[in-house]
Amino acid sequence: MTMPFYVPPEQLMKDRAEFAQKGIAKGRSIVAAEYADGVVMLAENSSRALNKIGELYDQMAFAGVGKYNEFEALRVAGIRHADLKGYSYGRADVAAKSLANAYSQTLGAIFTESVKPYEIEILIVEIGPSPDDTRLFRVRYDGTLVDEARFCAIGGQEDELSAQLENRYQAGSSLNDAIKFTAETFEAVEDKSIGPEDWEAAVLDRTNGRRMFRRLSADEITAARS
């Protein structure tokens, strides 16, 4: 009879964290930044079909980096959670805070209980009637929940992007300016220019009516940056 080796829990968690971090570091990043009317989300993604950014609910968006199948499952779960809640109670009762908590619980449980932790990091963005209502919740692979402000970068190059954004970010800027400085941040960090077809961009905009999420086309990004 074989006996399993004893692995101290500290070591087990460390190994799992390292494994997840390695996976995430391979993936491309996403940046979300506040502007006057909402939040713009920008990612480098040459696929037109496999999105990293998506609509969750009227005023909420989802962005994920890492393994596509894993964050896609979480995106679907989030939409289900939000739609169920909105249908059972009211549309105004769907809030990012409870959803972010649910994500945090779920990822935490997966990190400790499942065979393999998820190699992802996600961002839940919510806007409200005034700029003070903007929320950027980021959830890490182990369920750690962080409440960010002004801007947030997730994914492989998050540290470099955050450092660059600290200098480039302008509060209360127009959408065009926000696209400009976030795109420039990406290009500065990657040290190359990125073509309009290789961006995936979307906004949550207070002026969009009930469903505030809108994808930006390559033309719009080109126009904004020119």
Binding site: I79, R80, T106, A109
Partner: protein, 265 residues
């Protein structure tokens, strides 16, 4: 494998990916009824009355009156019977108001749910078929006398034209070429529309004819509420065309209603 976690995030994979109804059912939250025979016969639930829709050159106009009745009395004077289904389609309800409104809410949620998950809207045909299934699910209630018969219209982004669908009580779905009406005043409204309908009419003419048809129906049918100038209650009117679902401004409907009333009197 089910990943249902205490957090309540529904990660379970056995639910079909894009169906909100199936999701509700997996949580036992779907609308459901277990009634003994004849138990609803004694109920007096408000009934939504007349709605109609007609195609014009670039799309579809849909109009509904505002009255709900309970037996021979007026239950509500200002209910809404025409709703957006999504950005490019509209649904109008006739029949038992409470059930119909719930059906619309579920239909709207279902379409938005699909759109968010799949990243694309259902085809117009797909939406119409789905609504047929929802009407069919009401069949046990229809046997109790609680009937819901909607109208559905939308702009087909592939064929680039407005299309119109009617339903029957068992969930039969019929595409209409010209116009359709449902509810207690539907017969009068259709008779009126038959006399004025012309193919390829402008949006303005179609809207005026639709409001005139509701007004004409209200002349004959007590359950239909025509334009009420004293209380300033006017029919709900929407236009669905290549720019999507657009509600007609209340002031414009009021203006049209007044001129129609003057003409018909």
């Amino acid at each position: 494998m089910s990943l249902e976690l205490p957090s309540g995030l529904p990660l379970n994979a056995h639910v079909p990916a894009d169906s909100f109804y199936e999701l509700l059912r997996s949580h036992s939250l779907q609308p459901q009824w277990e009634l003994s025979e004849g138990s609803a016969q004694s109920l007096a639930a408000p009934e939504a009355t007349t709605v109609l829709a007609l195609r014009y050159a670039e799309g579809v106009v849909m109009v509904g009156d505002r009255r709900a009745t309970e037996g021979h009395s007026i239950a509500h004077r200002r209910i809404q019977k025409v709703y957006p289904a999504d950005d490019y389609s509209a649904v109008a309800i006739a029949g038992t108001a409470g059930l119909a409104m719930e059906m619309v809410k579920l239909f709207q949620t279902e379409l938005e749910h699909y759109e968010k998950l799949e990243g694309a809207r259902l085809s117009l045909e797909g939406k119409a078929n789905h609504l047929a299934r929802m009407v069919r699910q009401q069949l046990p209630m229809a046997f109790q006398g609680l009937v819901v018969v909607p109208l559905f219209c939308g702009f087909d982004e592939v064929a680039n034209e407005g299309r119109l669908y009617t339903y029957d009580v068992v969930g039969g779905r019929y595409e209409e070429e010209d116009f359709a009406a449902s509810g207690s005043g539907g017969r009068e409204a259709k008779a009126f529309l038959r006399s004025v309908y012309s193919e390829g009419a402008s949006a303005g003419d179609a809207l005026r004819n639709a409001i005139a048809a509701i007004t004409a129906a209200a002349e004959q049918d007590t359950a239909t509420g025509g334009p009420d100038l004293r209380r300033e209650i006017y029919p709900t009117a929407v236009v669905v065309n290549d720019s999507g679902y657009n509600e007609v401004d209340d002031a414009h409907v009021a203006e049209l209603s007044q001129s129609v009333l003057e003409e018909q009197s």
